[in-house]
Symmetry: C2
């Protein structure tokens, strides 16, 4: 008998029949002897519809009221799922974030969980019921409704799992798990059976969309084992946990890519101390999430600064950049939104030199020009032209032997990269 | 400067433009110097859509989960209305029933308000904000979300008004106020400027749909002045308050009718003590709201019992009646759902004898047969054939001089009825 938290996203709950499918899955799990807490998102497109409603009445809705509005999405889901379970003759009880005690800071629309009170969950489990908790939402200590921002339901699930000491937090999605590359681009991409938190973090931060970085961080910090799996099959997915000797010992875990960012370049910026600080303080003040940064070494009095930001933040960036260019006396700024980022992630990089060289050589061989580079101890990311990213991903996946037809995936790239 | 509670129903909030209209109305009221608390229902058909969603996942949803589901309807409304007010440059803050402190008993789907905590409302008002409260919903002392049943938003408004000691509770609807009869049937029907709680209660209970009986009762018990008015105009509507000398001194306030009930007849019921108790205990146990009851005086060993129930309760009644007929050894039972009830309401009946006689005579003159009669000190109700009810209403409205062309409406019926 295990204590399991199971999170279902909006796609899994889109419509009555899917809700009933989730109910059946939870019941069969319960009947197998497990204690179950389900964490659910809003149904299908409900959140988008609510955002559209807000847009119709207000050009700039206050964050507090957006949270009030958006929190209804998950509340509808939990009620319907509880009803479906009752209809199948089993006991379930639903809780909103406020009710269950997901306590957050007061930063509306991107609140952070500060505490999870689990007395109600424990009590309901002890009476044999399936417990259903609204994801994505919480409440401040004085009862203001907050939402957790992108990936919030995953974070709720992990936080509840940590709070009740669950054996596993299962994240049900529309894919079978975490893959060595996006299977839509690389048909031979292979499902990863288990992966460490740190590699999963790098993959999530560099474009592997299946798990949100925040929830993986939360899981790592609280030692929650996450099982990312398909809501359409019973096959095991990908286990995310502390690195240990049972894990696959591949040097490279996967190739990720991300087309959601744009590149901004400031030209002829005076090359003096403090300039970069000014630029990126202005970006931070404008709530722009800067990812990669390149400042050219220069022997002139001016230099160029390039950086990438989410395309969604371009509007905020625009406003801040005009100010900054004028203030610094730079020549101009420009945006290139036809870029993409391709990344290699693997804990083995630490102990295997030459991976970067192999990566760059591979990309050169397929004619992909590298525009920017950034690295972490277990990741190398390159910005390339958006229309070349698929070629780059395929070539790298192949060279590093990540495909399902490769047996080891370990020797070749080491040899190739270690020269 | 007044302290005003203003309640807006679903029709007034059906769509972005209507929500913005309500926002404008609240703001203009606020700018005139009043402190405003708005109580709102779910938008347009939202509640019906939620009920349909529930039906799709469950044939018999648990009441607790229905409340969880339905409460989202008002939560959406309060958020959108607050956004609309902000968008117009004014400050507003929304509260769910849980947040504001509408404490109820734990009877899901028809909870009763046991306490209204108003600290939050007062505090928000003191900072100059327009306060928006979700109608229809509350929470038990341990935080379970409840709903108040039919007319719940009106009750919330009156309860909040009582709690904060508002000068008036304005109920905005799609009609101009309370009329002497339904204007769709009687074109000369006149809007009543003011009416006592007790008359309003009788009118509400006998078919005047504009205010719910529960909210009028709550208003009477707490001395809340209710102003029932149109959300489309600025004209004054009908004031409901304690009877006083400023009120119109009409003997008859209005003629109401109600086509929502059906008549059930039990035939050849053994005429012995306790039989009626058995029948109506069974109806109460089946949650059937019995309205009028007639038991014929009989010199035989058996008698007939007729009573009216809401058509909505017929399903529950059916199941109970088969049992009862068998248990009592009655001959049979039958349902007539083509009946209607027409009522005369007026505090002056107490001191003016002969109103009933005049009523029955008038109906006879227009060929309307009376099937059942019941009375209160200030109301006389008759069950008639449904297809004759309009004739009855028009004739009574005319004879008692209630129309807008009549000046007094007092003398004629007194003379007519006092013979």
């Amino acid at each position: 008998m295990a204590l399991v938290v199971a999170k279902f996203g909006g796609t899994s709950l889109g419509g009555a029949e899917r809700i009933r499918n989730v109910a059946r899955r939870l019941i069969s799990r319960k009947e197998s002897g497990d204690d179950i807490v389900a964490v659910v998102s809003a149904m299908g497109d409900v959140t988008d519809e609510l955002v559209e409603l807000a847009r119709e009445v207000s050009s700039d809705p206050p964050d507090r009221e957006m949270d009030m509005l958006l929190a209804t999405g998950e509340q509808v889901s939990i009620a319907l799922l509880a009803m479906a379970i009752h209809d199948m003759g089993h006991e379930a009880i639903s809780f909103t974030g406020t009710q269950v005690g997901i306590v957050t800071d007061p930063v509306h629309r991107k609140a952070k969980i500060t505490e999870v009170k689990v007395d109600r969950v424990r009590e309901a489990l002890s009476t044999g019921r399936i417990v259903i908790v609204a994801g994505f939402q919480g409440a401040t200590p004085d009862g203001q409704i907050t939402t957790l921002g992108r990936g919030g339901s995953d974070t709720t699930a992990v936080a509840v799992a940590a709070g009740i000491g669950a054996d596993v937090c299962e994240i049900y999605t529309d894919v079978d798990g975490v893959f060595t590359a996006d299977p839509r681009i690389v048909p031979s991409a292979r499902k990863i059976d288990s992966i460490s938190y740190e590699e999963m973090l790098e993959m999530a931060s560099s474009g592997a969309g299946v798990l949100q970085m925040r929830s993986v961080e939360f899981a790592r910090n609280h030692g929650v084992v996450v099982h990312c799996r398909s809501s359409f099959t019973d096959s095991p997915g990908t286990i995310v946990k502390e690195a240990d000797e049972t894990m696959e010992q591949a040097i490279i875990s996967g190739v990720t890519h991300d087309t959601s960012e744009a590149k901004i370049t400031l030209r002829d910026v005076p090359d003096r101390p403090g300039v970069a600080a000014q630029v990126f303080t202005a970006m931070a003040d404008a709530n722009v999430n800067v990812d990669m940064i390149i400042q050219n070494v220069s022997e002139q009095e001016t230099t160029d600064i390039s950086f990438t930001v989410p395309k969604d933040d371009l509007g905020s960036a625009n406003r801040a950049l005009d100010d900054i260019v004028a203030k610094l006396g730079a020549r101009e700024w420009s945006v290139d939104d036809s870029v993409a980022k391709v990344s290699l992630v693997g804990a083995g990089m630490r102990t295997h030199p030459g991976i970067a060289a192999q990566m760059f050589r591979t990309m050169a061989e397929v004619g992909v020009n590298i525009d920017m580079i950034s690295t972490s101890p277990i990741r190398i990311s390159c910005v390339v032209a958006a229309d070349q990213v698929a070629d780059a991903v395929r070539a790298l996946h192949d060279v590093f032997g990540l495909g399902s037809d490769e047996s080891g995936g370990e020797d070749e790239p080491t040899h190739g990269g270690g020269e």
